[in-house]
Symmetry: D2
Subunit: 304 residues, 4 copies
C-alpha cells in the first residue's frame, strides 16, 4: 500500500468527524485553539517521513511530555524509580486522590498526573536546570533546535495548579516527594507546555521503535529492554482511562495529550503522531483516535 | 535455540524458586495441592509440542476459564457484549465493589470476577445447558475428550460464594444481570472448576496465536480482528492487579488462575502454559511468572 | 401554649409546603400513595394525646421499623450486639458498600440498611418466628391489636431486593451474617412493611421518652441507660445522611422512613410522629421535617 | 452529690487507666508531653468553679480550637457559612480526601480538618489579623489575658503541613478557598497551638451552656438558637470518628483535641474540661473519655 496515499485519505476523511468533541478549555491558552484541524506524520526507521494535513503546525504537547520525562528519569534512575511509582493501570479518573491515599502516596503509574509529578520530582533532584535539560533533550531527539516552551501556557497551567498541588502535597505527606512542591510544579508545567508539531514528535519518539537508539542523534536513550518496558507501560497506561479501549481498537503503545496530540509506536517499523484538538470525555483526541484506528486496520498494525 | 532444552533448563531452575508463595487456601479442594510442582508446555502454530516437568498433570484452571467463556460470549454476542462490560483495566482489588457501584453495575473488564459473572450470565441467557456447552467447546479446542469439571471444587466454591453473590446481586440491582443469581453462580463455578493440564491448555488456546482459527478442530472461534482484540484485553487486564507488571516483564497477552496456571500467547508463533501452585500476593503463580519472564527474555518474545 | 392549637396551626400550614418533594417510587405499592397528605400526633408521658390532620391514617412505616427491631435486639442481645454493628454515623449514601467493604462487613450503625439487616439477622438467630414476634411486640407497644404487615408491600420489596441482597451476601462473606440471606431479607422486608398511623407510632415509641418503660403495657423494654443510648444513636444516625441537619434544625432523636413518616422523642416529655409522603433527596419527608422544626422552635424542644 | 468530691474521686481513679493510649507524636512539641497526667474542671452557670488534678496546667488545645473558630465564623458570617461547609458527620478518617473529592470540595462538617480549614479561610477573608483576633477573643471568653499561642508548636505543625496543604489545595481547585493556602495554614496552625488549661477552657466555653452569652465578658457570642445549633454539631461531629460512641457513652456535646483535652457542655448547667495526654486510636484522650463517662453516669448528664 502507498503510505502517503493512505495518510492523505485519512486526512481527507478527518473532516467528517469534526464536531464530536470539545477543545480543552480549563486554561485560556488551550481554549483558543481552532477545533477543526488535523495533522498526521509517520517517521520510519529507515528515516522516511510521510505526513498529511497540518503536520507542521505546532501545538501544546501536554501529557505527551510524560513519555519524554519518564525516558529521562529511567535514563538517570534506572530501576530505582519503581520504588516511587507503580506500573499498573489506574482505575477511573475519579479515583486519582483516593488511590493515592489508599496506596500511601505511591502513584499507580508514571502517566497519571501524580505519577508524572513524581517523575518530575526525581528529575528535579538530579538536575540543577530540569527545564533546560528537558528542552535540550527534546531538541536533540527531534533534531530541531527551534523547539520551545510556550511560557503563556506554562504560566496559565501554574495559575490553575491547585489539583496538582493537592496531589504533590499528599505525596509529600507520605514521604514520596523530595523537592519543594512549587519548584516541581513549575518544571512539570513547563514540560507540558512544550510546543511541537506532528513531524517533530514522530521523529523525537523514533527511539521507541528502534530499541532505544535515536536515529537522529545516534544516542542510545534507553536499553533495548528498557524500551520494551516503556512501550509496555505506554500500552497499559498511556491513554488515561481509555488505555484498554486503545489497545482493543488500535493495538499499539501510545501517549495522548489534552492539546489533541497522540503519538504511537510500531516497534521495529515506525512512529506516528496525529493531532486534532477536539477531545472526547476521556481527554483524548476524537479524530486522532479515529485516524489511528483507520491506520491500524489498513496496515494491520495491531501488535496482537 | 533448542526450545526443548530451554524448557528443560527453566524446569530445572524452577525448584530454586519454590517456597516464595502460598497455595490458594480459600477452599479445601485447592488448599490440599502440593506446592512444589512445576510444568510447562508450548504448542506452536506448526503443531509442534514442547513440554517439561509436570505438563501432563491436571490442575484447577480457575480464572483461566474466563478466557474460554469470553471467547464463547464474543462468538455469540459480538460487539453487543460491550454494552454490559467495559474494556478497561481495573484499579486495585480493594476497589472491586466500589467501582461496580460507582460505574452503576458495569464491570470494568471481563476478567475481574464481576465481569466474568456478566459474561457467564450472557451465556446462560443464550444456552440451555451452559456448563455442558462449555465442556464440549473446551474439549474440542484442546482436542481431548477426557477433560472434566471437578465437582468437588465447584461445590466448594459454591459454598464460599458470598462475595461473588454480593457482586451479582449488586449488578442485578443496576439491571445488568439477566438470570437468577444462583443459576449463573453454578455455571461460573463450574467453568472455574475445569481440570486441565499445561499441554491441554496450550493446545486449547492456540487459536489466539492463529488469528482465531483452532488448529485442532479447524473451527474459526473468532475473527482475526476479534482475536487481536481479545489478546489486547488479555494484555491490559489478564493478570488481576498485576497486568502492568506482566506486560513490563513478559510482554505477552496472558491469563492466570489461582490454581497456579498461567497461559500466554505469542501471536503468530505459539501459546505457552505454565503451572506452579504457589501464588504471590496478587494471586498469580510466583514460579510461573518467573518462568515466563525467563522464556520471554531468552527468546525475545516481548511484543514491544 | 395550647398544644392542640399549635398542632392545628402546623397542620394548616403544611399544605403550603406540598409539591417540594417526591413520593417514593422504587416499588409500586409506595408510588401509588397520594402526595398531598399530612398528619401529626403527640403522645405525652401523662398519657395525653394530641393530633391533627390524617393522624389516624395508616402508612408504610419502612425504616422507622429499624428503631423497633433495634429495641428488640438490644433487649435480647444487650451489649453483645455491638460486636456486629457500629455506633458511628455513616458518610454519604454513596459509600454504603464501600464502607462495608473497608470495615470488613461491620456496618457503621444499626440504622443504615446493612446495619438493620444485621439486627434482623440477630433476631432470626434467637426467634423461631421473628416476624410474628415483631408484630406482637409492636401491637403491645402501641396498645393496638389491629396493626398488621402489608404483604403487598413486603412482597414488592422482596422483588426489588437485590441491593440489600448484595449487602447481606457481602457481610456473609466477611462472616458477619448467621442465617440464610433469604430468610433474613423476608423478615426485614416484613418489618419495613408494618402499616401504622401517627397516633400508633407516637404511642408505641413512648418508652423512649420514659426511660424505657412502656406506659401502655407497663413493660420495661429497655433499661434507662439503654434508652439514653438508643436515643443518642437516633440523634447521631436516625435520619439517613441528614442526621446532622436534623440535629441542627430540630435537635431531637428521631427516625424517618421512606413512607413519609418521622418519629421523634423529647426525653421526659413526649413522643411525636408526623407523616407526609413527599420526600426530599435524602429520603426524608419534606413537610415532616418542616413540621418538626416548627414544633421544636415553638416549644423550644432542642435538647441542646 | 458533692461535686468537688466527685471530681476528686474521678481524679483519684484516673491513674488506674494510664498506659492504655499513646501521646500524640506526629510533631516533637507534642511528643515530649509526659503521659501520666490528668486534670478536670467544671464551670457552672452560677460562676462556681470545681477542679481537680492538673487543672491549671496549660496544654496544646489543638482541635478544641475548632469550636472557637467556628463560633467566630458563625458570629461573622451567619448562615452564609453553610454554603461552604456541611453539617453532617463524616465517615471514616480514611475517607477524608475521598469525600472532599466526591462532594466537590465541600467538607462534610466544620470539625474535620478540611472543614476547619474552610472556617479559618472564611475568617482570613474578613479579618486583617486573624490570629490576633482569635487570641483576643479567647482571652475575653476565658477572662484570662495571659493565654498565648505556643509558637514552637505552631511552627512544628507548619513543617508537617502537607496533608492539610493537600486538602486546602483540593478545595481551592473546586473554588471553595478564598485566600492563599499558606496564609490560612499559618492561621489554622496558630489556632491549634493555643495553650490553655482545663479551668480556662471550661470558662471560655461557658457561653455554650448559657444560650450564647459569656458570663465572664457579658458578650453575646451567639444567639440562643445558634448556640443550640453549635451544640448539635458538636454532638454529631465533635469527636472525630467517635462522635457516635461519645453520644452513646457520655451523651453531651463535646470537642476533643490531640493534645489530650476534651471539653463538653451540659446546656443550662455547666461546661467541663478534662485533660489527659494519652490518646486512643481515634485521637481522643483515653482517660478523658473515661472521666466524662463517669461524670455523666454519676450525675445522669446524658441529654437523652
Amino acid at each position: 500500500m502507498d503510505l502517503q496515499q493512505l495518510l492523505d485519505d485519512i486526512c481527507a476523511g478527518a473532516a467528517s468527524h469534526y464536531g464530536q468533541g470539545r477543545v480543552a478549555d480549563y486554561i485560556p491558552a488551550l481554549a483558543s485553539v481552532a477545533p477543526a484541524q488535523f495533522g498526521i506524520a509517520i517517521h520510519t526507521l529507515e528515516g522516511d517521513l510521510y505526513s498529511s494535513g497540518q503536520a507542521q503546525k505546532r501545538f501544546s504537547i501536554q501529557s505527551i511530555s510524560k513519555a519524554f520525562s519518564l525516558t529521562m528519569a529511567i535514563h538517570r534512575h534506572g530501576d530505582e524509580l519503581w520504588q516511587r511509582v507503580g506500573k499498573e493501570p489506574s482505575g477511573t479518573a475519579f479515583n486519582s486522590l483516593v488511590q493515592l491515599e489508599f496506596e500511601k502516596g505511591i502513584p499507580r503509574n508514571p502517566f497519571i498526573n501524580a505519577g508524572a509529578l513524581v517523575v518530575a520530582d526525581s528529575l528535579c533532584s538530579r538536575l540543577s536546570a530540569p527545564v533546560h535539560a528537558m528542552l535540550e533533550t527534546v531538541r536533540l531527539m527531534a533534531g530541531t533546535a527551534s523547539i520551545t516552551i510556550d511560557r503563556k501556557v506554562a504560566d496559565s497551567e501554574y495559575e490553575h495548579r491547585y489539583r496538582n498541588a493537592a496531589m504533590a502535597n499528599l505525596m509529600k505527606s507520605f514521604g514520596n516527594f523530595e523537592n519543594e512542591v512549587d519548584r516541581v510544579l513549575r518544571a512539570y508545567f513547563s514540560y507540558c507546555a512544550l510546543s511541537m508539531n506532528c513531524v517533530e514528535l514522530a521523529r523525537a519518539f523514533s527511539f521507541l521503535a528502534a530499541d532505544g537508539r535515536c536515529p537522529q542523534s545516534g544516542r542510545q536513550w534507553l536499553t533495548k529492554r528498557q524500551t520494551q518496558q516503556l512501550n509496555a507501560l505506554l500500552l497499559t497506561s498511556g491513554l488515561y482511562d481509555a488505555a484498554g479501549d486503545f489497545a482493543y481498537r488500535v493495538g499499539m503503545p501510545g501517549k495522548s495529550g489534552v492539546g489533541g496530540g497522540i503519538m504511537a509506536v510500531v516497534p521495529g517499523r515506525f512512529t506516528v503522531c496525529v493531532w486534532a484538538p477536539e477531545l472526547n470525555e476521556y481527554g483524548n483526541s476524537v479524530v486522532g483516535l479515529w485516524a489511528l484506528e483507520e491506520l491500524s486496520k489498513a496496515l494491520d498494525l495491531s501488535l496482537f
